[in-house]
Amino acid sequence: MAEKDVVFRVKRYRPGHDAAPHYQEYRIPYTDDMVVLDGLNYIKDQIDPTLTFRWSCRMGICGSCGASVNGKLRLTCGIFIKEVRGRAVTVDPMPNFPILKDLVVEFDDFLRKLQDVKPYIVRGEEKPLAEGEYLQTPEDVEAYRQQSMCINCMLCYSACPVFAASDHFVGPAASALAYRYIRDSRDEGADERLGILSTKTGIWECTFVGECSVVCPKDVDPAGAIQNLKVLASIRQMRELLVPKWARR
């Protein structure tokens, strides 16, 4: 395969050492089958071992390697160097998160938010294992399948203008996963989760810009999930106002 050259402009930042983030340029050879992550690894192995980024599976499922590539939020293992327009491949860390070093950002905050929305089956009564599985038709699975595909890559938080303005916002992925459990026929935690999500840092903050769904590499559609959550939350509120307690489910 013919080798060509390309310039990688990579944002470098070491908090405590560097006064401010800055770009560093590397000229590297590439072939048409190389993804941006391959380019970063070429730099790390052959030119500059201090360049720091996360990666593992290199097949778009572990969610480690998100970055901004020429201004677009992508998994770096899923975008080919040849696809990148312009003279240089510019790689920035994912916005809206604290930078630990170079392209490595910290998102413990998301994991706390995820935990807050109870991302697990909530039931009043557990069926004993000996009685086997809860039955779910393929259509029942389809009801929550799309949102169960979230790989926690955090590109949606980087794309979200509401989260950029206020990091208290529960945000796209945690909302999508809350919705995933609410739509699961085995789950009985909808009321609890909708209560959690209806606070002032919850889903009502979302202004439906929809960028989260645009950048999602797994087609999870968090924006759609949040709109559906708003409908469910409204119905829940109406029921609380209109239906006497004894008549609620």
Partner: protein, 578 residues
Amino acid sequence: MSSRQIPASVDSTTFDVIVVGGGAAGLRAAIAAVDADPKIRVGVVSKVYPMRSHTVSAEGGTAAVLRDYDNFDLHAFDTIKGSDYLADQDAVEFFAKQCPEEVIRLEHWGCPWSRDPDGKIAQRAFGGMSVKRTVFAADKVGFHILHTLFQTTMKYERIERLDEWFVTSLILEDGAVAGVVALDLRGGELARIGAKAVVLATGGCGRVYEFTTNGFIKTGDGMALAYRAGVPLKDMEFVQFHPTALPGTGILITEAARGEGGYLINKDGERFLKRYVPAKMELGPRDILSRSIMAEIREGRSFKGPYGDYVGLDLRHLGEETIDRKLPMVRELVETYVGIDPVHELIPVRPGQHYMMGGIHTNVRGETSLPGLYAVGEVACVSMNGANRLGSNSLSECLVFGAATGQAAAVYAKKKGWPSGSAGREALKAEEFRIFDGLLAREGGSETVAGLRVEMQLLMERTVGIYRDEAGLNEACARLAKLRDRFSNVAVGDRDRVFNTALTAVLELDFMLDVAAAIAHSALPRQESRGAHSRLDFPDRDDERFLRHTLVSRTKDAPRIEYAPVTITRWQPAARVY
């Protein structure tokens, strides 16, 4: 549960149980431990956020007997025959009986298993399994298992995570394990984390090889940690090569592609497996299929590509609807990384390193020879996989033995007193000296980590790959020793303490060189061909001499090899014909 409550100056009596590794085996063990004892606290220490663990890349399914047409004996027999009779049959019987409960438990925890129209969990065919036994969630089974387990751990306040902590050594006190020393990648400091019991669940070591389906993080850390603490590794010569990886990247194309009816074909358009496994064809076991592909390549009946010879995986006759419903990830991966659509074109595939049958020597409760030290999942060798693992048995193994091991560790921790902390303080000092004063501050250093790593990977690929012989294995042992010498001259290309992935790459290479040597030294004296260990100079299985497990222990010089008996319960070794 929060991930950062433990300061660098962590008290050495913090956890009852530490689980190292946050994949399926580790998370299942962590939950089992807290479920077993309402008082204990469990720390999950992982060098990555747990949902990045390599379990996430598993695709095809997880085996369990769920239907009337199936039974435990049949699952056990398929597994034992698949293992070329090297599996311990008591372990396999235990495994087969526990699988259904674990699959149902995952279902109760929300795993989105694919369903039949009647709402029951669906099952698909898989290689070496005589009936449809493999439970699946389309072809993202590992991903769904991992996220279901990870999200379920969030129910438990007594499971605490230490995300992005890299364990560098085990702490030993009075002949028992007493915790770990770990590098906090973000803080850049080493710390001792005390525990009564430690469960190693770090997965395999695929990155020892050049062409592997494994992610970058699969560097044999746990194997090396145990090995260095004097615990033997078992059956390390048995390395699984999966028949269908994408040339170039090594990305896995799941066996479910064949389970759902895909064909393997050569350049003449022929389903060549009729020459090798006529009764099973594409559903033959992985060791035999990988060798069959190599034979086609040798005979000149393969395709030629920029990354060498390959054969074709043909899904075209399955149709777009089946591919999208049952194999969506295959289509996504092939479209992205090969640039073709498997609905209309052949997928190029060749065998690649995939899995370690061998690992830390344990029993069915995950116990090792070191009191308080447990191991589970791919890092361990119970052994239920023997000389060749059947597809879809490894996720089940993580669940079944994860549960058993977590429970056993909790029971042990309840009886065991807290470590004093003095051994931990000494171990920490020693690791600071080795890593900070030794590696990080080293001046000069003429070797690069990338250079040594590639040399090791190419050597292992060439000499300890699908086929082996005495000359090649001798060369591997000798050259690995030289690489070990040269490693002492490796430079760490980054002096910064915070998130130093140049440093962790060196620590990982250090582990991998130990593991690679254990593999090569185990393979050399096994003068027979069994399962995935295929010797050109000893083409036959030799039960007389080698129906036994290899145990390899670390010494100051070359690794020491011993043998242990194989447990046979009801299935006498017979010729393995498919």
